[in-house]
Symmetry: C2
Subunit: 280 residues, 2 copies
């Protein structure tokens, strides 16, 4: 019908995108008002509202939970630290199960404090994920290993390419896949081939979008709205589709200079417009 906007049924909003404007309840209700049908909450947001009330609010608004952010952070300087991370990840799995999340997103962690041994950190990640796989399977919560941009290798995630994440997921088997965030992987010369590989293995559990700004003023909190940067989201989106992924397309923007300073409704309206222009 002429004048009817394109559907937004595959659009999901990662609630970090509006975390400065709204708490979980407000954000979920706002997404509902805008016709958005899927959200990805963060653990601190759920903890603030309480798990039971978060579940209730999400269900009452008919929201799909496209993912739960986040588990991971496995490397630690000692065994007690590693065990604490495993225990905490098991709690995150329990919460994800209660929320009926499509997956638990894993930001795997960087170097333990004082370490320069990235190979050791990568081994700790492999061991850490392996340690939580049985609990995740028992709870039917898929684990989505998210490769992070190499600029986070030191402090956030030492899994930095899709190839690396898929090697891990392959080794761990059933119930472990990947979250592909265009922001983290757009530069990778192997991206097309690795997305195809992920599709063949049926390992794509989530697809996140935003944009890379030129210039980027902050390593963590200066992500751009789709269309404002240099990522070819059409092309990457087509590779994701060709790989057989038909799930939510999740907008995740940390933007201390821009989007976090605007009214939440304006942010959501813009997410919808840009999703329709760049991500379908």
């Amino acid at each position: 019908m002429s004048g009817t906007p394109p559907p937004i049924d595959r659009l999901a909003i990662n609630l970090a995108t509006v975390r400065q404007q709204w708490n979980l309840r407000e954000a979920v209700e706002a997404c509902g008002r805008h016709g958005i049908t899927a959200i990805d909450p963060w653990r601190d947001q759920v903890a603030t509202l309480g798990l039971a009330e978060s579940v209730r609010v999400i269900k009452a608004n008919g929201m799909r939970v496209s993912g739960y952010c986040r588990g991971g952070m496995f490397p630690a300087a000692d065994d007690a630290g590693k065990q604490a991370a495993i225990d905490d990840n098991k709690r995150a799995i329990d919460e994800a199960a209660a929320l009926e999340a499509d997956c638990l997103v894993l930001v795997v962690g960087g170097l333990p404090h004082g370490s320069r041994d990235i190979d050791a950190a990568r081994s700790m990640v492999a061991n850490g994920v392996a340690a939580i796989v049985p609990h995740a399977r028992a709870c039917r919560v898929p684990l989505a290993i998210e490769p992070l941009h190499p600029m986070y290798a030191g402090d956030r995630a030492c899994v930095n390419t899709l190839s690396q994440a898929l090697d891990l997921a392959d080794a761990l088997g059933e119930g472990v896949g990947v979250a592909i965030d265009a922001y983290h992987v757009w530069w990778d010369p192997e991206l097309k081939a690795q997305i195809a590989r992920a599709g063949r293995a049926k390992k794509i559990l989530a697809y996140h979008v935003c944009d890379w700004l030129v210039p980027t003023r902050d390593l963590l909190l200066d992500r751009g709205m789709m269309g404002d940067g240099v990522i070819d989201l059409h092309r990457i989106g087509s590779w994701i589709a060709q790989a057989g992924y038909g799930g939510p397309i999740e907008v995740e923007i940390f933007s201390k200079f821009d989007w976090w300073t605007r009214p939440g409704d304006e942010v959501l309206r813009t997410c919808i417009e840009r999703y329709q222009t760049y991500c379908r």
Copy 2:
């Protein structure tokens, strides 16, 4: 002999490290005072002093020129822009020849303004380097393709891994190699294998060091002094040595918050100490 400091004959100073403190003449003379025997000047520094005088000062102080920074920046929105880049690179080759530089370092360039097509930019880079190879060979100036950290893919260099740089260098043949900067490649899961590959191909033309700070406060100008960050320079240095590279180890630090604010002599003393501790 007890008490004798380890030799620093392989230490080179990239003059960007002290660009806020000294012009080329002052920097070269200061390096001489500190017993440093190799430097890598930037084109703007040479232009300010004049090429002939730069050559004279460098020779008068007995300095080896471990590299010349920099050529590259090949992608452009139109043919005129691409040709201008090629012409400018030929001039850079001429200057490098006059300076008797070990190589011309190529920072290949990112996306042309308004473009999101990184594959096209990568093709422009391959074509651009190919266009200057004959002149570089005629002038006996080796071209060192420097893969830059993926956080520069948008605006500075769309060659982002050593593997990619070596693929290019292999395709272009004689007279083209790579500059390996630990800052750009330390995170790469393939680093060890690709350094070995570069060594077998005798393509390592330069090795640069500094450190990755956690946190990093600026994408471009917050590099750390060796030892202040998380890069395992001992390990990477051992891979470089195993690959057969025995040339200069060049310190290149852009540091607007720290080292650019300190007296140049303190910076050079610290470079020497840290080189002796972390890079040999």
